[in-house]
Amino acid sequence: MSVTVTSRGSCLTAALSGDIDHHGARTMMRELEEIISEELPRRLELDLSDVSFMDSSGIALLLMAKRQMEHAGGTLRATHIPAQARRVLDAAGVGRLVPLE
């Protein structure tokens, strides 16, 4: 489970990998919070291609990142969402709050 950051101008990509469950989301949340407050990107892309599992703890993580980005005047989107995570996000209607690509 890890967060890897690549930056291109004011657009930051954070690639999340591993299981985003209650056990893993805690450290990920803290890492993301730090990255956002240090880098203050205009746009943050969460690349989920290497996420092996996600449950509703991942929803809380996305919404937390969205709130923090909005607070800093930026935007958030999630990309490369694996099928299992997609079903979770769709069941909870997260697409209405965070752009899912």
Partner: protein
């Protein structure tokens, strides 16, 4: 509803968050005999994760308690999963099952029961304050192999 139980397994573990992954794997392993599709397996893992996480987070807020997961294979390729704790219990189950309802911190989304409901065919929640909570979920898997 009475069902004939064809097989069953039960595991108990302490309410440590590392056991969330163990419970998902154990349930997926038990379900494998039904030759599930990848999507069915993913749904089972997700529903188990929600149920067990609730026992870890909510049932035992400031101690380590015992969680028991029972897996049953019923007739007609029905998988039944029961997750039981002896924790604080839920004062208002109807309210707890509503989407977005949470008594947790901002680490929680309040979508756990909603996800269990949408991924399983049925979800039953029995709870008593101070005694604990038992949730029972059933999902019928499509039969792909001739039996």
């Amino acid at each position: 509803m009475q069902h004939i139980v064809l097989d069953e397994a039960e595991v108990s573990f302490p309410s440590r968050s590392a056991n969330e992954g163990f419970a998902r794997a154990a349930a997926a392993c038990f379900a494998a005999r039904l030759d599930p599709t990848l999507e069915e397996l993913a749904d089972i893992r997700t529903a188990v994760s929600e149920a067990v996480t609730n026992a870890v987070v909510h049932a035992y807020p400031d101690k380590i308690g015992k969680i028991t997961m029972r897996l049953r294979l019923l007739e007609d390729s029905v998988l039944e999963i029961t997750v039981r704790d002896k924790g604080v219990g839920i004062p208002d189950v109807k309210k707890a099952r509503e989407p977005l309802f949470t008594t947790g911190s901002e680490e929680r989304s309040g979508m756990g029961f909603t996800i269990m409901e949408s991924f399983m065919d049925s979800l039953q929640v029995r709870s008593a304050v101070g005694k604990g909570t038992t949730i029972t979920m059933r999902r019928r898997l499509a039969r792909r192999t001739a039996q």
